[in-house]
């Protein structure tokens, strides 16, 4: 379970998160939508401790992420994250990309790490690309590789930050299909996305962020068809 309690965070004088509360249960899929600069990415990077927070608490399975005593490197093995772009390690082949962390972080043998990597890459449809370097692949394939790489650590939770927004429209589908597959397998996920149709399909709940505040959170039918918040209405009207 991911518990976010009253999290505040500023960059300099700019308050980016103004008291966020959100609990994500095991197996749940929560998508976050909202305008540019509303703090969506910042929240994700706070969840796995890449960014410090100013106040509040984030707990993952009861472990407080930002507590001094927390071993973040260990905690992060539980929480996979995929970004919008520059996910690939460009000097490594696809297989090496996926094997690196299992080898070095989990300390698995070469054979075991390779077995896991091949399994995950097959899972996302990249079985033919093992020996290829990332720059020889499309953006969509690179994103699927990044997903496989995160999955190779057997995370309990996955965070996705607009993983399709740097892609050609043609390639968005294949990546969203991969996310759908994960959702249907019961992976606990938080997805920041601009793909409203996708959000409606896969989400258990959709959260709308506005200027550092979670203005509204509801099941997709309710949030999309009967939004309560004025800002949500405005945002949805603008995106349709």
């Amino acid at each position: 379970m991911i518990e976010i309690e009253n999290v505040r965070k500023s960059f300099g004088s700019l308050e980016v998160l103004k008291g966020i509360n959100l609990t994500v249960a095991k197996g749940e899929v929560v998508t976050i939508i909202g305008g540019s600069g509303s703090g969506k990415s910042t929240l994700l990077t706070c969840i796995n401790g890449l960014e410090p927070i100013d106040s509040g608490r984030i707990k993952i399975d009861g472990t407080e992420v930002h507590a001094r005593s927390t071993d973040l490197n260990k905690l992060r093995q539980k929480v996979g994250i995929v970004f919008q772009q520059w996910n690939a390690f460009p000097h490594l082949t696809v297989l090496e990309n996926v094997m690196l962390a299992p080898r070095k972080v989990l300390g698995l043998s070469q054979e075991k790490a390779e077995e896991i990597a091949v399994k995950q890459l097959t899972h996302v449809g990249l079985a033919e690309k093992l020996a290829v370097y990332p720059n020889r692949m499309s953006g969509g394939q690179q994103q699927r590789m990044a997903i496989a790489r995160a999955l190779a650590m057997s995370p309990t939770y996955m965070l996705f930050d607009e993983v399709t927004s740097a892609l050609d429209p043609m390639l968005v589908g294949e990546v969203l299909d991969t996310l759908r597959m994960l959702a249907s397998e019961g992976m606990t996920m938080i997805c920041v996305t601009h793909e409203m149709k996708f959000a409606r399909e896969v989400s258990d709940r959709v959260a709308f962020f506005h200027q550092g505040v979670m203005a509204e959170i509801a099941p997709p039918e309710q949030l999309f068809d009967a939004p309560q918040n004025a800002e949500t209405k405005k945002f949805l009207a603008a995106t349709h």
Binding site: T45, N48, L50, N73, K74, R76, Q77, V79, G80, I81, V82, F83, Q84, Q85, W86, N87, A88, F89, P90, H91, L100, A101, K104, V105, L106, Y133, N135, A146, R149, A150, M153
Partner: protein
């Protein structure tokens, strides 16, 4: 062919000078690179504010002419009664000079690795050191290599200035022969050719590595 008074033992003398050039360059580039990596990582890690004193010192080493640094360095070690041989003094000064440039190269190399690539590494549970070792270092090296090779070749040529401390390196050896034999053009031609020959492997190494890496970038 050439009607020259240059003898085999003179050539051996030049070769010895070249050996000295190589030795000074190798020690200085090696030490300067190690220091440059250290300083570059520190500069990148602590940010411009905390690194300001370090940056200031390195800027001094980059802007004051090397000749002045050598002479002052030598005077300083004498005042401090360190009793360094000219070779030691030369290597120390040249190492710091190299380190000053190398720091910038290293910092630029680290800077070139996209934040998200590093975040991806850290978010897989890699430690700061593992990120540095397996992701940042290989990528930064690829970016920095051309500048580093340029620096190395520059230091090799600049190392001629250690003749002011009395070391007989390649250029000084040539000067001595010129004075004795009065054949400046021929001897300087040979001297230049030797510089070229000892530079070639380093210059080639760059081309070779770039070619080897290019399909993956």
């Amino acid at each position: 062919m050439f009607n020259t008074a240059l003898s085999w033992s003179d050539l051996a003398f030049l070769a010895q000078g070249a050996g000295m050039t190589l030795a000074v360059t190798a020690v200085s580039v090696a030490a300067g690179t190690v220091l440059g990596i250290l300083f570059g990582v520190i500069r990148f890690q602590v940010g411009p504010y905390w690194a300001a004193p370090l940056t200031f010192v390195l800027d001094v080493f980059r802007s004051v002419p090397l000749l002045i640094q050598l002479v002052l360095g030598n005077a300083l070690q004498a005042i401090m009664k360190l009793g360094w041989a000219p070779f030691t003094t030369s290597c120390v000064v040249l190492s710091l000079y190299t380190a000053a440039y190398c720091t910038e190269i290293v910092r630029g190399g680290i800077d070139s690795v996209p934040t998200n690539t590093r975040r991806a590494a850290r978010s897989l549970g890699m430690s700061w050191f593992q990120d540095m070792r397996y992701i940042v270092a290989p990528l930064a090296v690829r970016v920095s290599l051309p500048s580093w090779i340029g620096l190395t070749l520059g230091v090799m040529k600049d190392s001629a200035l250690v003749l002011w401390l009395g070391l007989i390196e390649l250029l000084r050896a040539s000067q001595i022969l010129v004075t004795r034999l009065q054949e400046p053009l021929f001897i300087l031609l040979i001297c230049g050719a030797i510089y070229f020959i000892i530079s070639l492997p380093i210059a080639r190494l760059g081309g070779y590595l770039e070619k080897r890496w290019s399909p993956n970038d």
